[in-house]
Amino acid sequence: MIHSKDIKESKDTRSGFGAGLLELGKQNKDVVALCADLTGSLKMDAFKEAFPERFVQAGIAEANMIGMAAGLASGGKIPFTGTFANFSTGRVYDQIRQSVAYSGKNVKICASHAGLTLGEDGATHQILEDIGMMKMLPGMTVINPCDYNQTKAATLAIAEHQGPVYLRFGRPKWPIFYPETEKFVIGKAWQIKEGSDVSIFATGHMVWEAIKATEELEAEGISVDLINIHTIKPLDNEAVLKSLHKTKCMVSAEEHNRIGGLGDSLAQLAASSFPCPQEYVAVNDSFGESGTPDELLVKYGLTAKNIVAAAKKALARK
């Protein structure tokens, strides 16, 4: 088990993306990067400097960026598009739907500043619906890594995958706990800790909160089966059902609207295969607002404390 007190280092997940992209540039000459005027924010500068001929500055024109990425992919390139999560999804949904997903193009849509934790910019930029939009597209792989290391590993892994991918990460510095050497397998959940009383399935930044919650619950004698679902689609059904068979109740935790996110994917699986009590830790169908990331997570109920309460509630409903 990871102990939160042993975790000393923090970095932003977007920097994991930037580091992964740079490495890909060296490994694979077909990798190209496109950015809509947010090169610094997306940490794509290093790639741009190292491979200027393979970097496309699209300007503040995201629809065209997605279309161009589809065209580049069509001829055999592996394009990675970079902008904020809001402008990577909602703004360009139809372009992704028709030119990328329906057309089966090998485009990697890489989205930073997802969720509430982008902070002070407020709700215009804090998209909480992107996982839902992306997972509804047939053939789309949806990944929300939990820390710097996992984001870097996921960035490397998606280049090897043939097909469109939505990779979602964030802005704030966040504790690093995913083993640096761990190979990232798309669609394979990461079992952080085995337990028998309650399953906690967490994605993205909420995995850190789930680790702290697990420590609290264990201290109270509640055995937690803690699983990181980094790939929301395709969901690792086998890992989820194996866990539910042990614990018979679950908590889902995500920095997303409770409608359409990881929790709903889990509920759908459980309803058809192994119905059991579930508690959601997610944003309750609302927009965000300005504030520091920590303040926002508290106000919107996305902390370890909320996960602890949800776990006890789920346990009581067994």
Binding site: V32, E53, R54, V56, A58, G59, A61, A63, N64, M65, I66, G67, M68, A69, A70, G71, L72, A73, S74, G75, G76, K77, P79, D94, Q95, R97, Q98, S99, Y102, S103, G104, K105
Partner: protein, 281 residues
């Protein structure tokens, strides 16, 4: 037989295919298809350097054509089949269940000749610019062609792509605009007009050419000139004056035949005006 005459005869058959396909399922878009029949015939039977018998969706080392205004799928499917991408008999499956010939072009059913889905307007130019970028990166000297509707230029994404292509000197790209002046709700000038489309493109930094899109001789001449202008640091657009419904008298002169099918009598009237030159499917 002159090349112009040969292509005109093929175009006549393509027009027969269009009205027959749309009539058979009583749905589809004959007007714009007929208007672009001459251009697409010229492209697929003369201009493009392509491999119909050995279709590779990547299109490396061959010219790539992108149909952005996907609703004119009947003309696209006809020239693809007639030039050898798939059997002509398959045109009979247009818009039917389990067909590879979807209402709007798609890649999911793996129809040879189609490289991207289109139908939701305004996306084809961006895709074509992407293919042009890929060709430049790969030192592939072939050309990318893209056909756009005039009404379609109301979609803002086009202007993002138009800006990008000029700024980045995408000079291995030739766009054609099907300027028939009509869209679903009326004339383009009435709905949301362009006034000076030429000066708009010029102001954005494109090389602009004009052509009568229903005059085969002129199409060959202007498209050849356009081809000669590639590699000169500027994207190229050919503003192509066409007549919606061209070739079928009662379908011409208005937007009425944008998206409706002829009845039995109208089909016969139309076919009587279009010589069967290659044999109906």
């Amino acid at each position: 037989m002159s090349e112009t005459k040969r292509l005109q005869e093929i175009a006549s058959q393509v027009r027969r295919d269009i009205v027959r396909m749309v009539h058979a399922v009583q749905s589809g878009h004959p007007g714009g298809s007929l208007g672009c029949a001459d251009l697409l015939t010229a492209l697929y039977f003369n201009i493009l350097d392509h491999n119909p018998k050995d279709f590779d969706i990547k299109g490396n080392n061959e010219d790539v054509f992108v149909l952005s205004n996907g609703h004119i799928s009947p003309v696209f499917y006809s020239v693809l089949a007639r030039s050898g991408y798939f059997p002509v008999s398959e045109l009979a499956t247009f818009r039917k269940l389990n067909s590879r010939l979807q209402g709007h072009p798609a890649t999911k059913e793996k129809l040879p000749g189609v490289r991207v889905a289109s139908g939701s307007l305004g996306q084809g130019l961006s895709f074509a610019v992407g293919v042009a970028l890929q060709k430049k990166l790969d030192q592939d000297s072939k050309t990318v062609y893209v056909n756009l509707g005039d009404g379609e230029l109301q979609e803002g994404q086009n202007w993002e792509a138009i800006m990008f292509a000029a700024h980045n000197k995408i000079d291995n790209l030739i766009a054609t605009v099907d300027f028939n002046g009509q869209q679903i709700d009326g004339s383009v000038e009435e709905i949301m007009g362009f006034k000076e489309l030429r000066t708009k493109f010029e102001a954005f930094g494109w090389l602009v050419m004009d052509m009568d899109g229903n005059n085969m001789e002129q199409i060959l001449e202007v498209m050849q000139e356009a081809k000669e202008q590639t590699g000169n640091q500027k994207p190229i657009v050919v503003l192509m004056k066409t007549e919606m419904g061209a070739g079928v008298d009662f379908m011409m002169g208005s937007h009425a035949w944008h998206g409706i099918a002829p009845n039995d009598k109208q089909l016969q009237d139309a076919l009587a005006q279009l010589p069967e030159t290659l044999g109906d499917y």
